[in-house]
Symmetry: C2
């Protein structure tokens, strides 16, 4: 009997269209069929989880134009429904979960939001300009927390998931992770984040170069837990666990932008097969993301200069993943429709 891949490709090729005419949708349809191990895949209760955490290095404004307080303010904006990710998940019928992974604010009184998940590891990381961002115990605990959150959501029937983040200063952490794992220089990995000026960008690169040397980050590409401990963030560590659990649960993972991909770089170091489940939503406008994707040998779905985080790229791409599944299940074949196939 032909392999599932061969059968899926045959099903795709005999739809009433020229072979290959649906381009990347055909690639996605094949991948989704292989992830779900079926000729008739489906997208069930898709979800986006936004992990929020503060970064000690952001307290002094060294690497970020927005004040650190914006992380907590944006969490409240998510809960009130006013952020971009609220708009796009609502429009596209996607569940939204918001996780306090380590925001420097007390959310213990937020008890009336079914979509808010309390998983605070600390009131933000330490400032890795001075010391390690977190302990290795905290890094591991964050990964485990991320795994549990996704496992719980999978248990309720979700089979397609995207991860977003909010954390002032977290493009710096992501740039250091990228440099450690890919070997690109810190200049190549560092971008403007939420909108640094030329001068701010130069300062950010200088600061990150010092952190790189201080923590010997370039030696930690093969040591994910140490890397997270030295220069990571709680939201990033939780995303690492989230990827691992999503792949274990055979979910379709829709990968967002720069920071989400930095977390994936770590997850694929721990379990390379995670990449089999990943569909890449977009190329971020944040400098470095395109190089990350090149490193992973990936061509994403969208490329239109978004750089917002929050999982917004993933939320916009999920309808296109739905389209891939829909044509595979619903289009007629040449035979079914009585359409003549190509004269060879």
């Amino acid at each position: 009997m032909a392999s599932l891949q061969t059968q899926l490709q045959h099903k795709i090729n005999t739809k009433t269209k020229p072979v290959g005419a649906l381009g990347m949708l055909e690639t996605i349809a094949l991948q989704v069929g292989l992830i779900q191990e079926t000729l008739c895949p489906s997208i069930q209760s898709p979800a986006i989880i936004v992990f929020a955490g503060d970064h000690g290095i952001a307290a002094n404004g060294l690497v970020n134009p927005y004040p650190q307080a914006v992380t907590a303010q944006m969490v409240l904006n998510f809960l009130a429904g006013g952020a971009a990710i609220n708009v796009f998940t609502k429009q596209n019928n996607i569940q939204l979960f918001v996780v306090d992974a380590g925001v420097k604010a007390d959310f213990s009184k937020v008890t009336d939001h079914s979509s808010f998940i309390h998983a605070k590891q600390a009131m933000g990381t330490e400032n890795y300009f001075a010391t390690a961002a977190m302990t290795e115990v905290q890094a591991l605990a964050s990964i485990e927390a991320g795994k549990k959150i996704v496992t719980d959501i999978a248990a309720k029937g979700t089979n397609c998931i995207g991860f977003g983040e909010m954390g002032i200063g977290n493009t710096s952490s992501a740039a250091l992770i990228m440099s450690a794992i890919t070997g690109f220089s810190i200049e190549e990995c560092t971008g403007r984040g939420t909108g640094a000026s030329d001068e701010q960008l130069a300062n950010k690169i200088d600061a990150l170069r010092i952190c790189l040397l201080k923590h010997q980050v370039f030696n930690l590409g093969e040591a994910p837990i140490q890397l997270l401990s030295k220069i990571g963030g709680f939201e990033i560590a939780m995303m690492v666990g989230a990827y691992l659990s999503a792949a274990e649960n055979k979910m379709i993972i829709v990968v967002d932008g720069f920071i989400a991909t930095a977390a994936l770089l770590i997850a694929q170091k721990i379990a390379p097969s995670v990449l089999n489940n990943c569909i890449f939503a977009h190329t971020s406008g944040e400098q470095g993301h395109e190089k990350m994707l090149d490193y992973l040998k990936i061509k994403p779905i969208l490329n239109w200069g978004m750089r917002l985080g929050e999982g917004t790229g993933a939320a916009l791409a999920i309808p296109l993943v739905r389209s891939a599944v829909a044509f595979l299940n619903e289009m007629a074949s040449f035979e079914q429709a009585g359409v003549s196939s190509k004269a060879e």
Copy 2:
């Protein structure tokens, strides 16, 4: 008082996100606001119209690997709901209309489909390898028919529209139109269509070069009606009228691929302001489309190698246009959400 454009840009910039962070979605939101002349635009009853027509040149298999009968067979597939455009319009809640612009088959007995529009000009065009494809009277009548179809749909409240096509052999007509209007050589304009082999492609180019010379196509860039008459198609001529009417009715026009853009090349020759209403869905995998878009100085929404026609690219892009409108209307501003703006 500030201009509408300034007010729209201010509204976009004060949403809870870094300035520019939603990339091309912000460009689209601005454009849609300007088309509808409002700070609060909306997408109402979006529609795709598929214009179908046969091409005399397709009868001998000179330029196309699929038999000419496929045009009519695919029209029946559209009516039965089995084609890609059926799947994507259903998924994305888009109305679908199918027009018999000039298919070489009798559809007079199809009377029970509310979405099927009878506008047959002839049983396919003449073979422009031998003679003109249609008379100038037919070209004008086709344009008028396309205008009327869109005017009728606009009258029912649709304010966002995309045009697709079905017609075996119509990439040849589109290539000749492209060459006439843009000045690119016929080699640069001619692609594989539904999937010509290397040898078929070489034959297609040779045949089109003969047609180019025979009809002096390179002199007709400023004479749209003559151009359509010599080497056009009924579905292409109808799309020209459809674009003109859509712009007159202040509709958002979502432009599909190679053939849809060839028709637009003609429409913008007749009324250059049509382009103000156009959002370009995708870069087709059909050779030549990217050069057409360069000629129009356009960067489309999607670029993933689709080359199916039928309006499928437009149908996939409409949810993204909806996202642009949704963030403009629904996202909180920094002030509304109590989020600190950038520290300058």
